[in-house]
């Protein structure tokens, strides 16, 4: 039936037209989303990079335009937004990620571009020049550290090491940890208790912070240090009840109970150790070499600060893994892969990489850039010596592809506070963690197929 000209709109027809309008609107919105990373803009190609503000500064973005003629448009890193963009078929051209945990997760879901062919023809990033830490970005469909390369780390640290403030040690009358031999985790915690200063229920000085990069990687690293594995061989399960994993869990819960440093039951409002360590309110900070970037820029703090090897468990083995390896990867459906690769080469092998290496914000991921690491001052030479000795103990601790690190972290946060407050035994906690984490891993395994 055709409506008569001039007749009033019927409700049914109006709603039908509205629905059509809505559908058109949806399509337009989708179209807008698709244009995010489309080709050429202004004076050259445009590459969309999803990153955090600290990853790439506005100056660097301008520098990219000058150096390689590519305009970089940044989108603030947000996993939900990333998933939305990928679902729309319009992902960013480059995405920041934590190699240690994101590489197996995304590679197993087949959304990452295999970068082996790009590396093979690159004159900037040569395979022989890549530090072994970049293997965190490899995944063969089963195990991390093998198979195709899906990304690259911009710098790295051995994240079980710790920095300490000699002035706070001296003030508390605690002997300095040795710089070449590791202390045990038990000694570390004992020192932290002696270094903590409290007044009227407030913590004036934190004895030590030990939280790793993210708790699940920390627990996997601690378990490795105790001589075991947190994950089963096929990465489809965790087991906190093995003697090694239980030892690791017990230590971390003791750390939380002792309230010697930030934890989920005593969070640091700064959200990271840097400002508290810089304010001389933290005697030990479990941060790797990268914290030197902050420390070196503070002329008062730098001479007081020392780097120490990763602790060991009594009877355990000496391991000093990288828990992050943060860098970039390219989505399989990226629209501008060639330009994105040009940015990739520039970011990891040219000006920005040299600037990062000389700033002390982590160890360069290209062996050829190692000589640029800061070693002008005596304290810098001292730190570098400790770091170079520690590299002998570097290892990759593979992470599961079946769950995001955030999901395991959230489940730990859900269960662990009761144990840290003394309302739950470590054995009971281990059982609960096995239950909730294995349920999550099971769901993930089903979905990966």
């Amino acid at each position: 039936m055709h409506p008569r000209a001039g007749a009033s709109l019927s409700r049914r027809r109006f709603l039908a037209l509205s629905a059509a309008g809505a559908a058109t609107g949806t399509a337009s919105l989708s179209g807008c989303a698709m244009q995010v990373s489309s080709g050429v803009g202004g004076g050259g190609e445009t590459v969309t990079m999803m990153a955090k503000p600290d990853d790439i500064s506005p100056e660097l973005i301008r520098q990219a335009r000058k150096d390689i003629g590519v305009k970089i448009v940044t989108v603030r890193y947000d996993i939900t937004k990333l998933i939305g963009m990928m679902t729309n078929g319009a992902p960013p051209d480059l995405v920041r990620g934590v190699g240690a945990t994101d590489a197996p997760y995304f590679a197993a879901r087949d959304v990452m571009e295999d970068l082996d062919p790009y590396f093979a023809r690159s004159t900037v990033l040569k395979s022989g020049d890549l530090d072994p830490v970049n293997d965190l970005w490899r995944y063969d469909g089963r195990t991390q550290g093998r198979g195709p390369r899906y990304g690259m780390a911009k710098d790295f640290s051995q994240d079980s090491m710790f920095w300490y403030n000699t002035a706070l040690f001296d003030k508390a009358g605690v002997g300095h940890p040795p710089e070449t031999e590791p202390v045990t985790y038990e000694e570390w915690l004992e020192n932290a208790k002696r270094l903590t200063r409290r007044r009227n229920g407030q913590t004036i000085v934190f004895g030590g912070s030990y939280n790793g990069v993210l708790t699940p990687n920390l627990l996997a690293s601690l378990t490795a240090a105790a001589g075991g594995n947190l994950f089963s061989d096929d990465f489809s399960r965790v087991d906190f009840t093995t003697p090694e994993a239980r030892k690791a869990l017990n230590w971390y819960i003791e750390y939380g109970r002792a309230k010697v440093g930030p934890s989920i039951v005593q969070p640091d409002p700064n959200t990271w150790d840097g400002p508290t360590f810089q304010a001389n309110r933290m005697a030990m900070s479990n941060s790797g070499y990268w914290l030197g970037g902050l420390i070196n820029s503070d002329k008062k703090l730098a001479p007081l600060s020392r780097l120490a090897p990763a602790p060991v468990f009594e009877g355990g083995q000496r391991v000093s893994p990288c828990q992050a390896g943060t860098g970039l990867w390219m989505p399989k459906k990226a629209k501008n892969k060639d330009a994105a690769w040009r940015v990739f080469e520039w970011f990891f092998g040219e000006g920005p990489a040299r600037a990062r290496a000389s700033g002390g914000w982590g160890i360069p991921t290209l062996k050829s850039l190692r000589p640029l690491m800061p070693a002008q001052e005596d304290y810098q030479k001292r730190v570098l010596k400790v770091q170079n000795a520690e590299l002998k103990h570097f290892s990759v601790i593979a992470f599961t592809p079946y769950a995001s690190v955030d999901s395991l972290y959230a489940l730990f946060n859900q269960e662990a506070p009761a144990a840290m407050k003394g309302h739950l035994s470590v054995d009971a906690l281990a059982g609960r963690l096995n239950s909730v984490m294995n349920e999550q891993l099971k769901r993930g395994k089903e979905q990966v197929g």
């Binding site: 990928m86 407030q202 640091d268 955030d406 959230a410 990966v448």
Partner: protein, 332 residues
């Protein structure tokens, strides 16, 4: 261009040409009802299109998601029928968080209405600098929730917050305000911080109360409290009902606990103090921390239905006590 203008233009040509042309087809006349309908639909169209695009489509999408195991990225998701709904009702976290949310609504809504109404009564009095007080009291309500969260976190931090500065002045030990059992009070304070919203609406309602009624009550010897209870409150009842309904919906949907969380990361939501782990926190953790889009969508649909039921119950139980100041003949 109007119909009249078209007619004038039609007459402006030379007479010969005018007579040679066939007579223009007469435009169908639109009845007054038709015009009204057209105007109604044209004016409401932006809202209706927005409603369809931004409410109905996402709700339908969420409903579809709620029958799947979709996580946004994995390739092998599947339909589970009512599986997510069955799981939801046997999940203790759902019930516990729902119970806390109900308690929070029962506490925060009356408190903010009482506080806002009290402030409205105060700034409705003929006092000096009344405009300034109204502005100052309303100002916190315009601070975005993120700003409120950051400010409260700084104020109530155990080691460096101003609140513990005051506590320790009295020789007491600092309190862990952002942890249990105090976190719930900080959350309530953050809600009361925005009582200016209730104040401004109540103030408008108060100014609508006829002055003659108050004067008559005063002549009859009624006390200020009696006047407030028997005249002001009944006349304000539609406003109070509105604030109750919107307050309950807002309190059920609040994400303020997340903004007060010392660990602002996605995974940090599950580390919230138990007392502040409300229903929306459970939804957030399932969506964004655990990536369970299907299950979280089911949680949201259940919340939607619950809000409808609660709103209906509020209307039902208040129908006898809400006084609508309208002409009863107007409907006829």
């Amino acid at each position: 261009m109007t119909v009249e203008q078209i007619s004038v233009t039609g007459r402006s040509g030379p007479p010969a040409a005018s007579t040679a042309r066939p007579a223009p087809a007469e435009r169908p006349k639109i009845s007054m009802t038709g015009r009204r309908h057209r105007a109604f639909y044209l004016f409401t169209a932006p809202w209706i299109i927005g409603f369809l695009l931004l409410t109905i489509v996402p709700m339908a999408y969420a409903l579809w998601l709620s029958f799947t195991t979709y996580d946004g990225i994995s390739p092998h998701w599947r339909y589970v029928g009512l599986g997510n709904y069955t799981e939801l009702f046997s999940d203790p976290q759902t019930w516990n968080s729902l119970g806390r949310t109900g308690l929070f609504a029962l506490t925060s809504v009356p408190l903010s209405i009482i506080a806002g109404l009290g402030l409205a009564v105060l700034v409705n009095r003929p006092i000096k600098a009344r405009g300034l007080f109204r502005t100052l009291l309303y100002l916190p309500a315009v601070v975005p929730p993120v700003g409120v969260g950051l400010t409260f976190k700084a104020l109530f931090d155990q080691n460096s917050g101003a609140a513990n500065g005051v506590v320790t002045l009295f020789g007491l030990d600092a309190l862990g305000w952002l942890a249990d059992p105090y976190a719930r009070y900080v959350l309530l304070m953050s809600v009361l911080w925005a009582a200016g919203n209730v104040m401004i609406i109540s103030l408008a309602g108060l100014q609508d109360v006829p002055r003659e009624l108050h004067e008559a009550a005063r002549i009859d010897g009624a006390s200020a409290w009696r006047t407030f209870r028997s005249i002001t409150v009944p006349l304000l009842s539609p406003v109070l009902l509105f604030q109750t309904v919107t307050g309950v919906i807002a309190s059920v949907q609040t994400i303020m606990p997340l903004l007060l969380s010392p660990d602002g990361t996605t995974a940090g939501v599950t580390a919230l103090p138990q007392s502040n782990y409300l229903y929306m926190m459970h939804v957030f953790s399932q969506y964004f921390a655990l990536g369970r889009y299907g299950y979280a969508s089911a949680l949201l649909w259940v919340l939607f239905v619950l809000i409808l039921i609660v709103t209906g119950l509020i209307f039902k139980f208040t129908s006898g006590v809400v006084f609508y100041n309208v002409d009863p003949e107007a409907k006829k």
